[in-house]
């Protein structure tokens, strides 16, 4: 773990690396080096992209993209310490102009995750082959997982308009 930390810090100068307890490595990086860090980590054995997530930091007016990586086994029935590790790579992008590059060229299975984030947070992934809706059926004024989207108000607005069965004809 420490070795990897030193190596990462020597290659990419602008990033912050911290080791959290055992086997957890957190990297905070500028958005322009994320792709090269991901391909570096992939080539050094962390080839399993477990999760792409997004956090909306409303107060700081920023979105945080989170990539969780871990390693598959090298040998069939031997476990080495490296394989226990989880790497969390975080980067921040501005909330006003939410754009980022897709990582499908490095990790194929990022495709549905990026689609989901596009739908829930409205982040535009450049180079993504199909940013079509994945889960939602209705049109939303604002992507629904953003922190300033008020779920309760939305429910009131949309579902209160539907009349009850017994006063469908206008009677109370």
């Amino acid at each position: 773990m420490k070795l990897l930390k030193e190596k990462l810090e020597s290659i990419f100068s602008s990033i912050q690396v911290s080791i959290l307890k055992q086997d957890r490595l957190i990297i905070s990086a500028q958005k322009d080096v994320v792709l090269s860090i991901l391909s570096f980590l992939k080539s050094s054995g962390y080839a399993h992209l477990a999760l792409v997530s997004c956090v909306d930091w409303l107060d700081e007016r920023e979105f945080e993209l989170v990539y969780v990586l871990s390693a598959y086994m090298q040998k069939d029935d031997e476990y080495i310490d490296k394989e226990k590790a989880n790497i969390i790579l975080k980067t921040r992008i501005s909330r006003e102009n939410p754009e980022f590059l897709t990582v499908i060229s490095i990790f194929k299975n990022a495709e549905p995750y990026e689609r989901e984030i596009h739908e829930f947070y409205g982040i535009d992934f450049k180079g993504h082959p199909r940013l079509t809706p994945l889960f939602l059926e209705r049109e939303y004024k604002m992507p629904p997982f953003r922190k300033d989207f008020d779920t309760r108000e939305y429910v009131k607005e949309v579902f209160d308009k539907i009349p009850f069965v017994d006063n469908k004809d206008g009677k109370k």
Binding site: D23, L49, L51, V55, M73, K108, P112
Partner: protein
């Protein structure tokens, strides 16, 4: 031949669960498949941001309808990690036993779906009956048959009642006694072999590239199991084996599921023998005044379908700031399924989907 677009599901006999696939077909061959989830999207992750740490539990276990227990586990693990709560030794053993029981139940349910789809109605009925015996155990232990909310941050809700160990052993023996029957009628049956061999094949490299875990990966020969790679609960206290197969097709995946059930039963016996006495629950603060320190955590455990992860962010308040479940069906049902369905026949769509063990509510959340 003419190309057609075919909507497979959600109202289709070959489809299990609320999920649909748009197929582009030429005759009986599938040229392209587009997975189309969303029929069960309930926005749980957003709703959880409005509830405090304990109120989240009823929603957590509804994410995977078939095996809610590993959901409880992964959420408890994340909260314990952020809040720094220790779990008593006995509770760890109980958690492992309980999760393995849930795994057997879930695999039996999967076997029901698979056997039913292939037309083995008798085997399907057996599997459903045997799952019901396990649900009876859960009912006695927790009061609920399907959703239990038994694992809590800090341990488990209550200790095993008196005589419960013997009941587990008796039930598992009566299920295990039927394994030869299952083998004769289903697993060694020529029809099963003909239908499943070389169907939905993925190589190990492809599986790794597409983020597969669980049976989809173990059927290609890799012993990748989070219980082994990063042991939690009491999985490092007893010895057990990770069953694998080499071919990576539907046949191998179903055999891995069968072997895993047997391995789980053996593991439960070993855990019951070694289980220590003591407390099962460490007190946690009053749930209504419980603030969890600022921080983030990614935890993972092995559900019956593969790697189940949870990314949890707390900003120091009494509610989570962001909660994101990494469910195993997500890559299996979207990335792997779309790739594997190419060049297969329409009759095998259900076959491939159930052998990949896709469960729709897990994808939608």
């Amino acid at each position: 031949m003419r190309e057609l677009e075919l909507y497979f599901g959600p109202q289709h006999l070959g489809m299990v669960g609320n999920f649909s696939i748009t197929l582009k077909v030429e005759g009986d061959r599938i040229l392209e498949a587009n997975a189309n989830p969303g029929y069960l999207h309930r926005g749980f992750e957003k709703l959880m941001e409005l509830r405090n740490w304990i109120q989240i539990f009823p929603m957590v276990c509804r994410i995977n309808v078939i095996e809610p227990d590993s959901m409880e586990m992964v959420y408890s693990m994340a909260v314990e990690k952020l809040a720094g709560i220790e779990v008593p030794e006995r509770a760890n053993y109980i958690r492992s036993i309980y999760l393995e029981l849930a795994r057997v139940g879930s695999h039996l349910f999967g076997l029901w779906a698979y056997a039913n789809m292939l037309g083995f109605d008798t085997v399907a009925q057996w599997a459903m009956y045997h799952r019901d015996l396990i649900l009876d155990l859960f009912e006695e232990l927790t009061g609920g048959r399907v959703y239990h909310i038994y694992i809590w941050p800090g341990g488990v809700r209550r200790d095993f009642p008196e005589g419960f160990n013997e009941k587990i052993v008796k039930t598992l023996h009566s299920i295990g006694g039927c394994v030869p029957d299952y083998d004769d009628t289903f697993f060694n049956n020529r029809i099963f072999y003909e239908r499943a061999k070389d169907i939905g094949k993925i190589t190990r490299e492809e599986a790794k590239e597409m983020g597969a875990t669980g049976q989809a990966l173990r059927a290609t020969g890799m012993k990748y199991d989070i219980r082994r790679v990063e042991p939690y609960a009491a999985y490092d206290k007893v010895s057990w084996d990770v069953p694998t197969r080499e071919d990576g097709d539907a046949f191998s995946r179903i055999w891995v599921i069968r072997d895993e059930m047997i391995e789980s039963v053996h593991m439960i016996f070993k855990l019951l023998d070694k289980m220590p006495d003591g407390e099962v629950y460490n007190k946690v603060p009053n749930p209504f005044k419980w603030n969890i320190p600022k921080g983030e955590a990614y935890v993972r455990c092995e559900s019956s379908r593969g790697e189940l992860g949870l990314y949890l962010v707390s900003n120091g308040g009494d509610k989570p700031y962001r909660i994101h479940f990494r469910t195993p069906s997500y890559p299996h049902g979207l990335t792997v399924l779309e790739k594997v369905l190419k060049n297969e026949s329409i009759a095998d769509v259900g076959n491939i989907m159930i052998s990949l063990y896709v469960v729709a509510p897990e994808i939608d959340r």
